[in-house]
Each structure stands twice: as structure tokens, then as C-alpha cells.
């Protein structure tokens, strides 16, 4: 087992499954979805060892696989997993399974292609999380786009083409800049060490003049910020979400958005720490604006999916804010928020999908009084909604609280403004919930709604379980991510100091600003107030 | 002797090539092209590329151009009608651009583009040019050589499919 290229198998098994599904007869709907589900389940089971085999106490990469890919360029097929990517990979396999199971009956046309694409997408996502080579990362990053683009463009709603193109172009615009930055890193690396390589760990050792970092950081940040998505680069998200099929929305929300924050954590921040210090306040404020803005705009949405989409903007703002806080709580909070958002928002999209499948509308105004008709559905909806609102005891709270705490330690105004998001999230969620679930049944069509089927309950059961597990006892999750997060933090700080020291032009306060959380007697208010 | 032959072939080549593009009748053009290919084959011979020279004739003169002729005959093309201001303009631009190209090429040539290092070891030509080429082709260039076979196969299939045409749908006027 030790010699088994486990990560490669994880990445390529869904791809193989996708190919197998793709060559099945087109009208064999039932076998197709059965096999797709079995494949996703197998992949999930196969990925479960990530939970215990990725040793919690170890910060570095594990299960590394290294093969020459393009030796001339020094590009390698280099995979590895650590606490952060392991958790996100688990989220990916889990979400894919849920999404496929959720899409059982909702996809009527071209189900073969649909399930094949979802599985291919899974392969792309896992590759993105596992790869430790920048060129490979770029390849996976782009490869992910295509299935998603097709999922939106083919199985989407009314304006699917517009949404798909918007999604594609937005992401492309960012990633092209990232590619330029990757290439320039490569050149710098070659200049520095004489060995051409795209290896991430080599880049971690690469000193960069602070003056040089800025534009590269911005290029990376731009790509990731679009993916997150950060205000004001978020407008692709509502469209993509609204038009995407349910499974697409779920995966988009649960995993694809995490790519952005993951990218910051893995690439943009440790590679360019000095630039990060310069940019962090701006990014943080953008994230805060995103939190408030997303919540405000979500409040007035007439469309359920759009509301959830804007709530994603808000939640991912929290994740970004946590990263920018640059301390243990912020990082852990951000990571928890990513996982939470994956679970809760994924579940929300599934819930919207459930009623959309039955009623073929997503307008809030078309519903009302659902509790009376579909009580089980409503209860699940309630729990998921509360998790999204961040009620203590559910998963949402841990992430938000830690992020706010991290932000608070960095700067009080950050936390103060961001915390209003907590209020606003309650506003839009409760209002939506009231209009959809409470009240009398106002539309006769809704009277005939059927409650969740066994399959659907099966889909939601693990989600609810996770919601409570992560809310009540999040420590196992935190244990797994923290060594890695600490390492990233440590590395970022160390690199910042090293490079500041090496660059006479850089100003000293930059590095000192990156020191760990304020000491007990220090006054964060003053520190934060300076910004 | 050889230079004179070269000049002769060159003159023939240029003349026939010019005729290709000047003559109104495509058949005549094609025939001149055959001639120019043949003279080019002669030049190849003079340049110690016997194999290439022969292949030039087999492939170009013997195969390609026959195909051209077939097509011209099949389409039953007559003299091209080339009149009108637009065509005159085009002709003017075309010749001007050609002249410029030649001028620039000449100027570039003056800057000494042509010279270059000579390979240390002359190729092993025992058994003649064809044998030498064979040795290189089946060792160093074996892979590309095999690839060309795929290329040809693809071209064959493509040509057949294209030329075969779709059966005209019923009731649709040609």
C-alpha cells in the first residue's frame, strides 16, 4: 500500500469512471446514474483514508508522488497532500457524491454526458488540490473550467449560455494573469538556482525582492479573487449559480469557490509575503465589503438561487478576511468557513434544487407555506439555513467566530464591520425562510408537493450530520488543518523577514507587522486603528 | 558545364513558372508547371540530390499534376476571364508586392544571410544518394517517416470523403 500511487489513483479514478460512463449507451439512464453513483461512492470511500492516514500532527506534504513531466522546463507531475488539501479533497469527493445523488432524477436530457462531466470535474478538482507543481496546477485549474462550463452551458436554465460564457471568461481572465506570474516565477527561479523547475516547494525557498512581489502577487490574487469570488469580481457567481443545474451549483459552491481561498493559502500568500503585507488591508476591506454587500444584495433577491449565491459572496468574504488576518485563529476560521460553506451552501443549493425539480421555479414569491405541505423538507431547510446563518452549535458558527476573532486580533474595525454580516445574514435568510416555508399556502400548485423521497433524505442525512458534528465537536477538523496552517503562517512570516532583510529598499515595519497575534498586554486597538 | 546547365535549367524554371501564373488557361498552366517541376528536378540532380530529383518527378510531375489535370478536365474549365478594374488593381498590387519581396530578399541577401557553418563530417554517401537518404530516413527520421504514412492515410480518406460528395437529397435541385 505504501507504494501505491494513491493520490494519482484518487485523481484519475473519477476520470476513468467518467470515460466509462461516457461510453455507455446514451439512453440507459438508469445504469448510467447507478454507475455514476457507485463510482462517486467508491471514490469517496477511497478518499476516506485522507481523514486518518494524513497524519494530523504532521505539517508537510505527505504521500508525495513525483514524476518528470516536461523535463526541459522542469515541470513535474508532483502530487502531495497535507491537512488543508486533504480536508478539501474530502469535501470534494463528498460533495460530488452528494451532487450526483441529488441529480438522479433532475437530469433528464443527456444524463450520460452529465454524469461523465461531473466525474471529470471531480478529477480536475482533486488534481488542483493535490498538485504541488505550478504548471500542473495551472493545467488542472484550467481543466476544471471545461466540465463546469459545459455543465452550466448545456444543462443550465434560461440564460445558461450567457452565464457559462461569463463564468468561463471571468475565470480565464484571472488565470491568464496567473500564468504570466507563474512563468515569471519560473524565470526567476532559473536565474536564482540555475535549475528550471515549477516545483512549489522550490518556490517556497525562492527569495523574491519585495519590490518584485507586488505585481506577481496581484496577478495570483486576481485569479484567486475571481474564483473566491471577491467583491467586486463576484458578478459571475450569481449568474452561474442561477443558471447552473443543481449538481453544478452544489459543486460550484462547495468546491470551486474554495479553489480561490485555497490558492491564496497555498500560493499567493506564502510566495509573496511582503506583497501580501502591503495588500492585505485592501484585500481585507474588499472582503469585508463583500461580506456586507453580499448579505445586503442577497436580502433583496427574488430568486432563491440568487439569494444563496449572494450569500456565498458573503460567506467567502469571511474566508478571505480570515486569511488576511494572518493569525492562527483567522486561518483556522477561514479554513473552517470554507468547509462549512461547502456543506451548508451545498445543502442549500440542493434544497433549492429539490423544490425546483418539483415546481420548476425558483422565485421566492412562488412559494410559501411549505411547512404545511412538506414538513421534513422544511425542517431540514431550517437546520441548513441556521447553519448558514452561523448559529452556535452548527458548523457555521465556528468558522465565523474564528474568522472574526482573528480579524479582531488584527484590527478591531475589521471585525466590527464584518460582524454586521452576522446580523445581515440572519436578515436575509430568515426573511427568505419566512416567505418560502412559513405562511399559508398561497399557490395551489404547492399543495401537491411531495415531501423528500428516501433518496433525498439519504442525500441530506450526511449533510445534517456534518452540520452538527462540525458545530459541536470541530476539534478533529481543526487538528487536521492546524499544523499545516501553522506552517503556512510560519513560512509566510519567515519569508517576509528573510526577504525584507535581503532587500534594503524595503521598509522594516512590513515584516514586524506580520508578527504573530498581539501579546496580551499589547493594544490591538492601536494596531488596528493604524489602518 | 554544370553551371551552364544550372543556368539553363534555372532559366527554364523561371520561364515556365512565370507562364504558370501568366497563362489564362489552367491546363496550359498545369503543363508549364509540370515542365517547371521537371526542370527543378534537373537542378536537384545538379545539386547532387538525385533521389530527390527523381522523386520530384514521380510525385509532382507524375502524380500531383495528373491530379490537377484531371480536376481541370473534370470541371471543364476554359480560359479564365480576367477583366475589370478590380482585377487590374489586384494584378498591380500583386506584382508590386512580389517585386518588393524580391527587392527585400535581395537586400537581405546582401547582409550575408546565406553563409553558415559547414558540417564537420560529410554524410556517408556510399551506395549513392538514395542509399544515404535511406540510411538517414530509416534511422534518425524513422518516426517522422512513419508519421507521414499516417498523414497520407488521413489525406487519402479525406480526399475520398470530400470528392465523393454527399448523395443529393431527393427533391432538391442541384
Amino acid at each position: 500500500m505504501a507504494q501505491l500511487p494513491w493520490l494519482s489513483l484518487l485523481v484519475f479514478f473519477p476520470l476513468a469512471a467518467a470515460i466509462l460512463v461516457a461510453i455507455m449507451p446514451a439512453n440507459a439512464h438508469k445504469p448510467i446514474r447507478w454507475w455514476a453513483t457507485i463510482a462517486a461512492l467508491a471514490e469517496f470511500v477511497f478518499s476516506l483514508p485522507l481523514w486518518w492516514r494524513v497524519i494530523p500532527g504532521q505539517a508537510g506534504f505527505q504521500f508525495e508522488e513525483k514524476l518528470d513531466w516536461i523535463p526541459v522546463l522542469g515541470a513535474q507531475y508532483h502530487l502531495g497532500v497535507d491537512g488543508v488539501s486533504g480536508l478539501l479533497a474530502l469535501l470534494t469527493t463528498f460533495t460530488t457524491l452528494i451532487a450526483i445523488l441529488g441529480a438522479w432524477t433532475s437530469v433528464e436530457k443527456r444524463s450520460r454526458e452529465f454524469f461523465a462531466l461531473v466525474l471529470a470535474l471531480e478529477a480536475g478538482m482533486l488534481g488542483t488540490f493535490f498538485c504541488l507543481d505550478l504548471l500542473l496546477f495551472y493545467v488542472f485549474w484550467e481543466a476544471m473550467l471545461i466540465p463546469m462550463y459545459l455543465l452550466i452551458g448545456v444543462w443550465g436554465g434560461q440564460r445558461r449560455v450567457y452565464a457559462a460564457v461569463k463564468f468561463f471568461l471571468y475565470t480565464m481572465a484571472g488565470s491568464v494573469l496567473m500564468l504570466v506570474a507563474i512563468l515569471s516565477l519560473w524565470f526567476l527561479q532559473k536565474q536564482y538556482s540555475g535549475v528550471p523547475t515549477f516545483d512549489l516547494q522550490a518556490f517556497y525557498q525562492l527569495p523574491l525582492a519585495p519590490s518584485r512581489q507586488l505585481w506577481m502577487f496581484l496577478a495570483f490574487a486576481f485569479a484567486f479573487a475571481i474564483k473566491v469570488p471577491m467583491f467586486p469580481l463576484h458578478t459571475w457567481l450569481p449568474d452561474a449559480h442561477v443558471e447552473a443545474p443543481t449538481a453544478g451549483s452544489v459543486i460550484l459552491a462547495a468546491v470551486l469557490l474554495k479553489m480561490g481561498t485555497y490558492g491564496f493559502l497555498r500560493f499567493a500568500m506564502p510566495l509573496f509575503p511582503n506583497a501580501l503585507v502591503v495588500c492585505a488591508p485592501y484585500i481585507a476591506w474588499l472582503a469585508i465589503i463583500g461580506i456586507v454587500y453580499g448579505a445586503l444584495v442577497a436580502m433583496v433577491q427574488p430568486d432563491l438561487k440568487k439569494l444563496v449565491a449572494y450569500s456565498s459572496v458573503s460567506h467567502m468574504g469571511f474566508a478571505m478576511l480570515g486569511l488576511m488576518a494572518m493569525n492562527a485563529q483567522g486561518f483556522a476560521g477561514s479554513m473552517m468557513t470554507m468547509l462549512n460553506h461547502g456543506v451548508s451552501t451545498g445543502a442549500l443549493f440542493l434544497l433549492v434544487g429539490v423544490i425546483y425539480e418539483r415546481r420548476h421555479t425558483r422565485k421566492i414569491a412562488d412559494f410559501g407555506g411549505l411547512w404545511k405541505v412538506v414538513p421534513v423538507y422544511s425542517v431540514i431547510f431550517l437546520v441548513v439555513m441556521l447553519s448558514s446563518v452561523g448559529l452556535p452549535g452548527t458548523n457555521g458558527f465556528i468558522g465565523e467566530f474564528l474568522v472574526l476573532l482573528g480579524a479582531f486580533k488584527h484590527s478591531v474595525p475589521w471585525a466590527a464591520v464584518a460582524a454586521t454580516g452576522v446580523i445581515l445574514s440572519a436578515c436575509y435568510m430568515l426573511w427568505m425562510f419566512q416567505r418560502v416555508v412559513f405562511g399559508p399556502v398561497t399557490h395551489e400548485e404547492n399543495r401537491k408537493l411531495t415531501d423528500l423521497s428516501f433518496r433525498e433524505r439519504l442525500v441530506f442525512a450526511p449533510l445534517l450530520l456534518l452540520i452538527f458534528w462540525m458545530g459541536v465537536a470541530p476539534q478533529p477538523f481543526l487538528d487536521r488543518m492546524q499544523p499545516t496552517l501553522d506552517r503556512v503562517l510560519q513560512m509566510t512570516n519567515d519569508r517576509a523577514q528573510m526577504m525584507t532583510a535581503s532587500d534594503a529598499a524595503a521598509t522594516a515595519p512590513l515584516a514586524s507587522r506580520l508578527q504573530a497575534a498581539p501579546a496580551v498586554n499589547a493594544a490591538p486597538a492601536e494596531q488596528g486603528g493604524a489602518r | 558545364m554544370v553551371p551552364y546547365l544550372f543556368l539553363g535549367f534555372a532559366a527554364l524554371l523561371v520561364a515556365t513558372a512565370l507562364m504558370v501564373i501568366l497563362h489564362r488557361n489552367p491546363v496550359t498552366s498545369a503543363l508549364f508547371l509540370v515542365l517547371s517541376f521537371s526542370s527543378l528536378a534537373g537542378i536537384y540532380l545538379l545539386l547532387q540530390a538525385e533521389f530527390i530529383g527523381m522523386v520530384q518527378i514521380i510525385v509532382y510531375a507524375g502524380a500531383s499534376m495528373v491530379l490537377f489535370l484531371f480536376v481541370i478536365m473534370y470541371l471543364n474549365l476554359q480560359h479564365d476571364v480576367e477583366k475589370g478594374a478590380q482585377i487590374a488593381l489586384r494584378r498591380g498590387i500583386g506584382w508590386m508586392v512580389g517585386a518588393l519581396l524580391l527587392l527585400f530578399a535581395g537586400l537581405l541577401a546582401k547582409k550575408g544571410w546565406v553563409s553558415g557553418p559547414v558540417a564537420a563530417l560529410p554524410p556517408d554517401t556510399t551506395g549513392g544518394n538514395a542509399a544515404a537518404i535511406g540510411r538517414v530516413l530509416y534511422s534518425r527520421f524513422l518516426f517522422p517517416f512513419e508519421i507521414t504514412s499516417i498523414l497520407l492515410l488521413v489525406a487519402m480518406v479525406g480526399a475520398i470523403v470530400l470528392a465523393k460528395g454527399r448523395p443529393a437529397p431527393q427533391g432538391e435541385a442541384e
Partner: protein, 671 residues
């Protein structure tokens, strides 16, 4: 057994929730009721046992901490799920489980006919769990879990009759307003974490004196923020608006959540954090003023309300104001004392009101009641006791706690607040007896044979709203048929027994706080709380004569209020009408609650909504997407230009290629 097993206290209701959720549909109403009440009853028993264990210890050791597991630990910051039982939480836990149990029992009668019986008890048990977590938590974050949890249950229970728009509106309002408070609370807690590195009470309180300068900015800010949380939870100005609306929920809910337990969480939190608050005199001053203002304002509104539950709601707000200004003047013990007594008599009042409403077939308008004393003897008697208790007539419970508060305010020199308290006491007595008189005395103002219900159903409250909206077609969903035809009669035993128990408590509950003038030394209550609150800032010891004077004063004003109420509403109702007409503007203002809701709507809710709309429609769709699409249009324009080069003629393309080659040549020529 030495282990008190604190965790079992909140766990019992939670287990009931789980069982109810899983097997509730097989239990039937009886089973559900038994399960719910049993769980809370057991919790009460466990609480009693735990408190007895605590009491058995010496004063220095009166603290039991139980850690269940580490909730989460990030970096140097760690939170445990652990419970703390000390004298303060002991009082709270007893009140919560005790009153909670009674109200559970009461609910089995009150909700007997409701089709969502099971759901009701599910929520109620969940609430008990959350409240007990809140009370028993040994750190701020776990307290916050309960804090938000009770908010959630409050939301669910207010909106229990979810088909009624006003109910769900009220639930939503409660939750959101509470969230605003929570926002403050959370930030306050973060201040504590940032400075002390912990949320554990003991550690925070232990390190606070070393870390903060008393009266400094940080501690003031932190405590003020925490107080914002308290105003949200405990319905103080400016966040009190949700509580009156919360009366949309079933009456037992109002009794349990919006009178006895949840709303006092803010007071509990402030008292719990008294170490911090005492370091921030400015905050204390603010609390005192806010409390007094709330007490006064709510009392004025309570004067003119006609809905029996609304009067009680405003009275609750007002009483909570008393508790806060008690805290504000440093009388934390008095505050908690009032929390306890208030829990008894206010719960009783609400339950009594519920009984009345039940008897009146879901009629809540006092103008349509009257003369119920004979028809509902137990309800009448118990209500009367409660009314006297709240009005502050000795030896009923309310007198002792209210008097202690006023005395402390006077003693610490807050004369303005003392005066406001007195004024509030007059009004309290007045409006409470107004309620009593309108409900139980005089002549019945309804059709005694029960034909009344439909005539004014439009402004009646309760679950009937839905029925009327749907007409009788939807009648079978709800089981309230009993109410429409039968005469007014006394409630069943499971409602009257809790009333009686609470009535007894309303009488004797205050006696444990009888202090100075009557007995030597501290009151029993004070001594009990001393390990937590310390001996308190007893700077000004009032003379015994002053104490008696104050008591007399407060009794006198109460009596005046009672007299006025009887006079205006029983003897000569014309006075009331005349007053209404005389002070029409004032009356309208009061009746419309100072238009605060409208003010909030105009200042906060609506602008936010409008701004959001604009953000979406303008900023998102016009500006950001405009830029995005603009890039597209720009490229389209450029392409339209480039299109001209795409003539479709091969020759043109060839020409361009050649020109490109020419350009390349030129480049090489130049270089």
C-alpha cells in the same frame, strides 16, 4: 454520589428533543406530553440535587465545574464545553427548571387541542436545553451557544403558528433584533479574548483586574458592547421592540421565554460579569439610565394597551428595566433577586392570562372581557396574587425585590433613577390593576353564551387569524372547535395547578431576600450569592429609618396606583374615557408605542432595503456587470473593425500574409 452530573441537566431536555424527533409520531399527545414534562421534571430534580450538593459545601468551595470536552482549540485559544454551578447559576437553574416544568405542565392543557402539539413540546424542550446551557455555561462562548439557542427557540415559538403572517414576522423580528444584540455581545467577548486570551469566566475575571485599568476605554467599550447584547436579549432600549410583538406566540411561550427565563438572560449575563462591569463605571451609569428609561417608557406604554398579553409584555420590559438599573447602581444581587421573583409572578401573570384567553376562547382584548372572577375562580385568585406581587405590596414577592432595588438606587445616590423607579412603580400598580379590573371585575362585556367569537375575530389574536382568513374550510386543521360555542369556564387542572404553585411562590418567593431592616446582617439571598458577587459595594449603609421610609413610600405609591386603577376602571369608567379624550395626542403616542417601530422602519429597515435594492440593481447589474459586459462590448466593437479585414476572399488573406512577410523582412533589414 459526589458527582453532581451537571451535564445531565441540559442533556435531559435535549434527549427529549431527540426522542420526540425520532419517535414523536408514535407517541401520541399523551406520550409527548409525558416525555416533555418528564424530561424537564427530571432536569428540575437533577438541578435540585446539584444545588443541594453545592449548598452542602463550604462557602469557599461553592463552585462546581464539569468539563465535557474541548469544543475547539486554535492556537493559544481554546474553548471547552464545560458547566459551572455556583450560587448564581444555581438560582437561575432552579428558576429555569422549576418554572419551566410548571409551564410545561400548563402547556399540556393549554395546547391540548393544537394539531402541532408535538412540535410545540419539541421546541419547548429545545428551549429548555438552550436556556440551561446558557445558565450553566462556564465560559462566554458556551453561554453564547445557549444565548443564540434561546433566540432560535424564541424565533420558532413566536412563529409557532407559522401560517399567520404576523406571527412569523414577529419571530423574525425577534431573531434579528436579538442578532443585533449578539453582534455587540460577540464583539465584547472578543475584546475579552484579545486581552485575556480566554473566555472562561474564572480566568477572565481573575486576569481582568491586572489587564484592564478600571474605567479605561477598553473595558468600557467591552462592557458596553456586552450590554448591547443584554439589551437585545432582555428587551431594553433601544432593542426592546421585539418583545411586545413576541406575544404572537402561544401564551405559555410568553410566560416561559418572554417573562420568566430567556429575557432575564441579559441580566444574568451582566450579573455574571459584574467583575468587569464594576470596573467600568461609565457602563454601569449607562446601564442604570437605560434600565430606568426602559422601565418608565414601557410602563407608560403599558398604561394604554388593550391586549392583555401586550400589557404584560410591556410590564415585562418595564420590570427588566428595573433589573438593569439595579445592576447599573451596583445592586447585582438585587437584580438577580428581582429576576427570580419576577419569574414567579410574571410567569403566573402570563399563565393566568393564558388561562383567561383559553377560557375566553382565544380572546385577548381586555375590553371584551370583564367579570371573570366568578367564572374562573382559581385563575382569578392566582392572578390577583400575582398582580399584588408585581404592584409591590408586602409581603408578596415583588415588594421585596423591587424595594431592594429602589433602596440600593437611593443608597448609591442615584436619586433621579430612584425617582424614575418610583414613578414606574405607580404606573405598574396602575396598569396591572387596570388589567385585573378590566378582566375580572365589572360586568362581562361579552356574550356569555359564547356567541362572541366571530363578531370581533378580526382584531382578535391567536390561532384564529388563520381560521378567519380561510373561513371555516380550513377549520379542521386546528382543533379549536371547543372555543366557539361553549360558555366561559375554568381551565382544566393541568393549567390551574401550575397557577396555584406559582401563586404560592409569588407570595413566599420574596421572603428569602428579606434583609436589613427586618433581620440582622445580610439577607439569606445575599449570603447565598456572596461567593459570586462578593460582599458588594455597600458603601452607603442606610439608616433603618430611611429604609422603612423608603418601604413606606413604595407601598404608598403602589397603593395609589391601585386606587387609581379601581377608580378609573371600576367605579367610574368615565374617568378613563375622559382622560383618553383629554390627552388624545399623548394617548395615541402611547398607544402606538411612541411610534418606535415606525421610526425604526423608516430609519433602519427601509433604507437598508432600498439601499440593498439599489446596490443590486445599480451597482451589481449596472456598474460591475456593466464593466464586465462593457469589456465584451468593447471587444465586439474592436472585432467589428477587425471584421472589415475579414473579406472572406482568400486573395485578401494571402495579401495580408505577404504584407506580414514584408514587414518581417523590413524588421530584419533594420536590425
Amino acid at each position: 454520589m459526589n458527582l453532581p452530573m451537571l451535564w445531565i441537566i441540559p442533556a435531559l431536555p435535549l434527549a427529549a428533543v431527540a426522542l420526540n424527533l425520532l419517535f414523536g409520531d408514535r407517541l401520541g399527545k399523551r406520550g409527548t406530553a409525558f416525555l416533555a414534562c418528564g424530561a424537564v421534571g427530571l432536569a428540575f430534580a437533577a438541578a435540585v440535587r446539584a444545588v443541594l450538593t453545592l449548598a452542602a459545601r463550604s462557602e469557599e468551595e461553592r463552585q462546581i465545574v464539569e468539563t465535557a470536552w474541548t469544543w475547539f482549540r486554535v492556537g493559544d485559544f481554546s474553548v471547552d464545553v464545560s458547566f459551572l454551578l455556583d450560587p448564581l447559576s444555581a438560582i437561575m437553574v432552579l428558576v429555569v427548571t422549576g418554572v419551566g416544568f410548571l409551564i410545561h405542565v400548563y402547556s399540556t392543557g393549554y395546547m391540548a387541542e393544537d394539531p402541532s402539539f408535538r412540535r410545540f413540546f419539541l421546541y419547548l424542550n429545545l428551549f429548555m436545553f438552550a436556556m440551561l446551557t446558557l445558565v450553566l455555561a462556564d465560559n462566554y462562548l458556551l453561554m453564547f451557544v445557549g444565548w443564540e439557542g434561546v433566540g432560535l427557540c424564541s424565533y420558532l415559538l413566536i412563529g409557532f403558528w407559522y401560517e399567520k403572517q404576523s406571527a412569523t414576522d414577529a419571530g423574525k423580528k425577534a431573531f434579528i433584533v436579538n442578532r443585533i444584540g449578539d453582534f455587540g455581545f460577540l464583539l465584547g467577548v472578543m475584546f475579552l479574548i484579545a486581552w485575556t486570551g480566554s473566555v472562561n469566566y474564572e480566568r477572565v475575571f481573575a486576569s481582568a483586574p491586572h489587564l484592564f485599568t478600571a474605567g479605561g476605554t477598553i473595558i468600557t467599550l467591552a462592557t458596553l458592547l456586552m450590554f448591547v447584547g443584554a439589551t437585545g436579549k432582555s428587551a431594553q432600549i433601544p432593542l426592546y421592540v421585539w418583545l411586545p410583538d413576541a406575544m404572537e406566540g402561544p401564551t405559555p411561550v410568553s410566560a416561559l421565554i418572554h417573562a420568566a427565563t430567556m429575557v432575564t438572560a441579559g441580566v444574568y449575563m451582566v450579573v455574571r460579569s459584574h467583575v468587569l462591569f464594576e470596573m467600568a463605571p461609565v457602563t454601569l451609569e449607562v446601564i442604570a439610565i437605560v434600565g430606568a428609561a426602559t422601565a418608565l417608557m414601557a410602563a407608560t406604554i403599558g398604561l394604554v394597551q388593550n391586549d392583555i398579553k401586550r400589557v404584560l409584555a410591556y410590564s415585562t420590559v418595564s420590570q427588566l428595566g428595573y433589573m438593569f438599573f439595579a445592576c447599573g447602581v451596583g445592586a447585582f444581587g438585587a437584580g438577580i433577586f428581582h429576576v427570580m421573583t419576577h419569574a414567579f409572578f410574571k410567569a403566573l401573570l402570563f399563565l393566568g392570562a393564558g388561562s383567561v384567553i383559553y377560557g375566553m376562547h382565544h380572546e385577548q382584548d381586555m375590553r371584551k372581557m370583564g367579570g371573570l372572577a366568578g367564572k374562573m375562580p382559581v385563575t382569578h385568585a392566582t392572578m390577583l396574587i400575582a398582580t399584588i406581587a408585581i404592584a409591590g405590596i408586602p409581603p408578596f414577592a415583588g415588594f421585596w425585590s423591587k424595594d431592594e432595588i429602589l433602596a440600593k438606587a437611593f443608597a448609591t445616590g442615584h436619586y433621579g433613577i430612584f425617582a424614575a423607579g418610583l414613578l414606574g412603580a405607580v404606573m405598574t400598580a396602575f396598569y396591572m390593576f387596570r388589567l385585573y379590573v378590566l378582566t375580572f371585575q365589572g360586568k362581562p362585556r361579552f356574550d356569555e353564551n359564547g356567541g362572541h367569537a366571530h363578531a370581533h375575530a378580526a382584531d382578535a389574536h391567536g390561532a384564529h387569524m388563520t381560521h378567519d382568513a380561510h373561513g371555516h374550510g380550513a377549520h379542521d386543521d386546528h382543533g379549536h372547535d371547543h372555543g366557539h360555542g361553549g360558555p366561559v369556564k375554568e381551565s382544566p387542572w393541568n393549567m390551574t395547578v401550575p397557577l396555584s404553585v406559582l401563586a404560592v411562590l409569588s407570595v413566599v418567593g420574596g421572603w428569602i431576600g428579606i434583609g436589613k431592616p427586618f433581620i440582622e446582617g445580610e439577607s439569606w439571598m445575599g449570603r447565598w450569592l456572596e461567593p459570586v458577587l462578593g460582599s458588594g459595594p455597600h458603601v452607603h449603609h442606610l439608616a433603618v429609618s430611611t429604609e422603612f421610609g423608603l418601604m413606606g413610600l413604595s407601598v404608598a405609591v403602589a397603593a395609589f396606583g391601585i386606587f387609581m386603577a379601581f377608580r378609573a376602571y371600576l367605579q367610574s369608567p368615565s374617568i378613563a374615557t375622559a382622560m383618553h379624550e383629554r390627552f388624545g395626542g399623548l394617548h395615541r403616542t402611547l398607544y402606538h408605542k411612541y411610534w418606535v417601530d415606525e421610526f425604526y422602519g423608516a430609519v433602519a429597515v427601509n433604507p437598508v432595503y432600498q439601499a440593498s435594492m439599489r446596490l443590486w440593481r445599480f451597482w451589481d447589474e449596472k456598474v460591475v456587470d456593466g464593466i464586465v459586459n462593457g469589456v465584451g462590448y468593447f471587444l465586439e466593437g474592436v472585432s467589428a473593425l477587425l471584421r472589415l479585414f475579414q473579406t472572406g476572399y482568400v486573395g485578401t488573406y494571402a495579401l495580408f500574409i505577404t504584407l506580414g512577410v514584408l514587414a518581417l523582412f523590413l524588421h530584419f533589414l533594420r536590425s
